[in-house]
């Protein structure tokens, strides 16, 4: 039996066993859950090699599963994050209800993500895509009644995307008589013009939904924030990347062959940029860490979309690199929020403050992740951002780069809000008993944060598989021209050597740290955060002077004209209009038997009157 079959049966079997084991014992369930992911990861990386494929057919449709170098980039995200999140969620979900259900759907969504990456044909791609949708949907609504709205939004938009994709798939199938993605790629240049325009649009609708692209993003903040944090790290980190995965394929194989692809690329790139800007602005406006991170995910995906849409090798490189980085830092951050939620029971900035001394490890990993998110060197985020800017500038997207930069600069605002809101500010008696999260939750965060640092100094570790994957997509190799193990180059020949820079930064940092902190610790006295100079007043213990309401009010006032109109309100208006229309329409079923009989008669009369035009 082929290893790919074994992989899938292992994961499916694991999912079902986990589900069943829930009835037997919690420990067994947890062990099975973690083991399944671990075993499949090990199996995937040891036994399944790039280029492996299996053929089979279902009711006459030839299908193929396999893995190529491009899929391997994303499998890195999926499985890596999956392993981390599995450990995390064992601890995070402890004591909650319906865990069999949760783990089952968790595993199914992982399976389907792997399936998406390993599908070489459109039908299994679609099947796995939909499996991913519903399994993640079931997790989104896991938290109960108050998240219904987000669940419905999510499934509605996902289905919109999925149906667009289905339409595209059947169009391709009808035209090429083959379901292989490879065949579609080869046949695309010979499609009729209408197909050439519509297929990318339809596919991009599908992928844009998952990647939370601008007009289709409205589900994302709610869905991300409302699912359990253990899953959100996967949801935002890996699942949304499936949209990027598909988008890149679309851009590489389809948009390239459009008669005039500039407008297309520009539109999508600008949509990405607007997504980034609006996501950032809304993230700044949030008071709940989950919502903040959710909007921030939307914004980050906006950068990635822009990178994909611009489509030069460097831009593609940056998009892929950012994808990996986003998975890492957003995974860490969502996990940190989960840890805080677990330990304190709330994720609102104005409820919990000053956790830095209670949860130092969570703070450190969040700090590293936030620095990476903000794109500040020497962490991984910078590498991606640098490549993105350089690629935009080199490919003459001048205004676009400003837009992206604006989003990126404004991102500091919410970055700070996140750190300040939870960890800094005044310590309160209410949270005095808060302990650091269990080791199973802290370790994944720390590992991922460390990885961010490593990838920031040696981006080549990640860029190497990305380069291989891009070669699969038809790019020529970028190693040496755009990057080396720890160096970055742009198309004009400018370069950033990260290693000496990082040594310099790290060296000075350590120097001053030792000078100021270690020396200072001995000489300075620790006082509580109640001991502050507030006009001689002594804040009482129950008084919390931390500034958390209306945090960025002035800034939001400045940008309010842009934020005034929400996409959601348009959708809601549309939905309400449709519902009113439906209500009006269903009055056809008046409830009176005679009316129905009259309908019958009228129907006959109409058919008789128009019989010639109908059945001529």
């Amino acid at each position: 039996m082929n290893m790919i079959y074994i992989l899938f049966s292992l994961m499916f079997g694991g999912a079902i066993l986990t589900f069943l084991a829930h009835k037997v014992s919690g420990l067994l369930r947890d062990i099975l859950f973690v083991l399944t992911i671990l075993a499949s990861t090990v199996l995937f990386y040891t036994k399944i090699h790039t280029g492996d494929a299996v053929d089979f057919s279902i009711s006459g449709l030839p299908l193929q599963w396999g893995i190529n170098a491009y899929g391997r980039i994303f499998s890195l995200i999926v499985l890596g994050l999956g392993v981390m999140a599995s450990f995390y969620s064992v601890s995070y979900m402890k004591g909650k209800e319906r865990l069999g259900y949760f783990y089952f759907n968790f595993l199914i969504s992982l399976i389907s993500m792997m399936g998406i990456l390993m599908s070489h044909d459109l039908v299994s791609f679609f099947i796995f895509w939909e499996m991913m949708t519903w399994s993640s949907y079931f997790i989104v609504i896991y938290n109960g009644k108050h998240v219904q709205r987000s669940g419905i939004n999510y499934i509605l938009f996902s289905a919109l995307g999925a149906y667009a994709m289905l339409m595209a798939i059947v169009m391709v199938y009808a035209h090429t008589q083959s379901l292989m993605i490879q065949d579609m790629m080869q046949a695309f240049p010979f499609f009729p013009v209408a197909y050439k325009v519509w297929l990318p649009i339809l596919f991009l609708t599908a992928f844009g939904v998952k990647a939370a692209m601008m007009p289709l993003h409205v589900w994302a903040p709610d869905a991300y924030s409302d699912s359990p944090m253990a899953y959100t790290s996967v949801f935002s980190g890996a699942l949304s990347k499936m949209g990027i995965y598909g988008m890149i394929i679309v851009f590489v194989t389809m948009v390239n062959y459009l008669p005039d692809d500039t407008w297309f690329r520009e539109t999508i790139a600008w949509l990405g940029a607007i997504t980034a800007i609006m996501g950032t602005l809304w993230a700044i406006a949030q008071d709940d860490a989950r919502k903040l991170l959710a909007w921030s995910s939307v914004a980050q995906l906006g950068y990635i979309i822009t990178g994909v849409a611009v489509g030069t090798p460097l831009a593609m490189l940056s998009a892929l690199f950012l994808s990996v980085m986003h998975a890492l830092f957003k995974g860490t951050l969502f996990m940190a929020v989960g840890a805080i939620e677990k330990q304190t029971g709330t994720t609102k900035f104005n409820e919990v403050t000053g956790l830095i001394r209670k949860m130092p490890w969570t703070f450190i990993s969040s700090l590293l992740a936030i620095i990476a998110l903000a794109g500040i060197p020497p962490l991984g985020g910078f590498v991606g951002k640098w490549m993105l800017y350089e690629s935009l500038i080199n490919s003459n997207h001048y205004i676009l780069v400003i837009a992206i930069f604006f989003a990126s600069t404004s991102a500091f605002l919410y970055c700070y809000k996140f750190l300040f809101g939870f960890f800094l500010g005044q310590e309160e008696k209410e949270w005095e008993q808060v302990k650091e999260a269990p080791a199973l939750m802290v370790l994944p965060m720390l590992i991922m944060a460390t990885l961010l640092l490593v990838f920031g100094v040696f981006p080549g570790i990640v860029l190497n598989p990305i380069d291989l994957g891009m070669q699969t997509l038809g790019f020529s190799t970028t190693a040496g021209t755009f990057w080396s193990m720890s160096g970055l180059f742009n198309e004009w020949g400018n370069q950033v050597m990260l290693q000496p820079l990082v040594y310099a930064i790290g060296g000075t940092f350590l120097f001053f740290l030792i000078l100021l902190t270690v020396k200072g610790f001995k000489e300075t006295r620790y006082v509580t955060t109640k001991d502050i100079s507030s006009s001689g007043e002594v804040p009482l213990e129950h008084e919390n002077l931390t500034f958390s309401e209306g945090f960025y009010q002035p800034f939001l006032r400045a940008v309010w004209p842009v934020m005034k109109r929400r996409m959601m309100s348009y959708y809601q208006g549309f939905g309400q209009g449709m519902e009113a229309f439906f209500d009006y329409l269903r009055r056809v079923y008046s409830g009176n038997g005679q009316t129905y009989a009259i309908y019958v008669l009228v129907f006959v009369v109409i058919l008789l009157l128009f019989k010639n035009s109908l059945f001529g």
């Binding site: 350089e390 700070y416 300040f420 950033v496 100021l516 931390t546 400045a558």
Partner: protein, 303 residues
């Protein structure tokens, strides 16, 4: 090995220069402000005295480890940006790390410090600090836009992201970029007003309202580090402006002259200005300066 020695040497020298020149500038700022206000003013070396006094404070307090690390962050930023910015034209004693840095790296490393300091300020638990930080970050989101626009205009005009290349362009052609790309210069200078946080953009640390904002819990050694880092950073920024707009400098004296000339702009503008509210200043930066930035980009893209 020898190279590393060179780097270290260059780093130390440029740090000392930047520190002393920066502190002097701050002192001169006070002096000039006083003269403008028809006062005698403190001596030009007043800030040296202040710094020494602050460093010699006997006791101080801390609210947590981030309060120690905040100043370290901003110091690192200042030093690293100083290292990345070339001090002199083609001088082998100041190679620093500029051949490895570029403008985008610089842009990002420059925000490292404010963020770190903001963390330090946040740890103190003083509400004024946090308010000041939010204002500062908001303002940063404002002035970064014209600043980046100016830089992008230069980058696309000269097809490089390296500061050294920009300097070489000016040396070779003999024309300063402030004349050949006037709009970019205009936008950059207007952004500089925000960067220095002098009036009218000094709402961040408004002493009467916010009790000096982010620094309100930091006295003594913290303030010493912050002041010296600020001075170094100011000098680094001015050097950067000189490098990319005014053709760099061949020796330290010319550098000091040019930087001081440039420094006069925010200083004098600040002395004669009242104060903007946060959203006013943000909107100001997104108004004319950004317009000039846009013109600069257009100029670069079209000509």
């Amino acid at each position: 090995m020898k190279e590393i020695l060179y780097y270290t040497w260059g780093a130390i020298v440029s740090f000392v220069v930047a520190f002393s020149v920066g502190i002097t500038y701050m002192g001169l700022n006070r002096k000039i402000t006083a003269r403008v206000q028809n006062r005698y003013g403190p001596p030009w070396y007043q800030n040296f005295i202040d710094v020494i006094k602050l460093s010699s404070k006997k006791t101080s307090i801390h609210h947590g480890v981030m309060q120690h690390m905040g100043p370290a962050f901003i110091m690192v930023t200042s030093v690293v940006s100083l290292l990345v910015i070339p001090i002199l034209n083609g001088n082998k004693f100041f190679p620093n790390l500029n051949f490895q840095g570029d403008l985008i790296f610089l842009l990002y490393i420059m925000v490292f410090g404010p963020l770190g300091m903001a963390l330090g300020a946040g740890q103190t638990g003083n509400p004024n600090s946090a308010i000041g930080v939010t204002r500062g970050l908001s303002q940063m989101a404002g002035f970064e836009i014209p600043w980046v626009m100016a830089l992008v205009a230069l980058m696309i005009q000269y097809k490089t992201t390296s500061i050294v290349d920009l300097m070489n362009v000016q040396v070779e052609s003999g024309r300063w970029l402030m004349f050949s790309s006037p709009f970019a210069f205009l936008a950059a200078v207007m952004a500089m007003l925000g960067m220095f946080r002098y009036a009218p953009f000094d709402i961040v640390g408004a002493p009467q309202e916010l009790a000096s904002g982010p620094m309100s819990e930091n006295g003594g050694k913290y303030l010493f580090v912050m002041m010296s880092a600020g001075s170094v950073f100011a000098f680094a920024k001015l050097t950067l402006y000189v490098d990319i707009f005014m053709g760099g400098a061949d020796n330290l004296i010319i550098l000091v002259v040019k930087t001081f000339a440039l420094y006069l702009i925010p200083m004098l503008y600040g002395i004669t200005s009242p104060r903007y509210r946060t959203e006013q200043s943000v909107r100001w930066f997104w108004g004319w300066p950004s317009f000039f930035g846009l013109l600069a980009i257009l100029q670069a893209a079209l000509f």
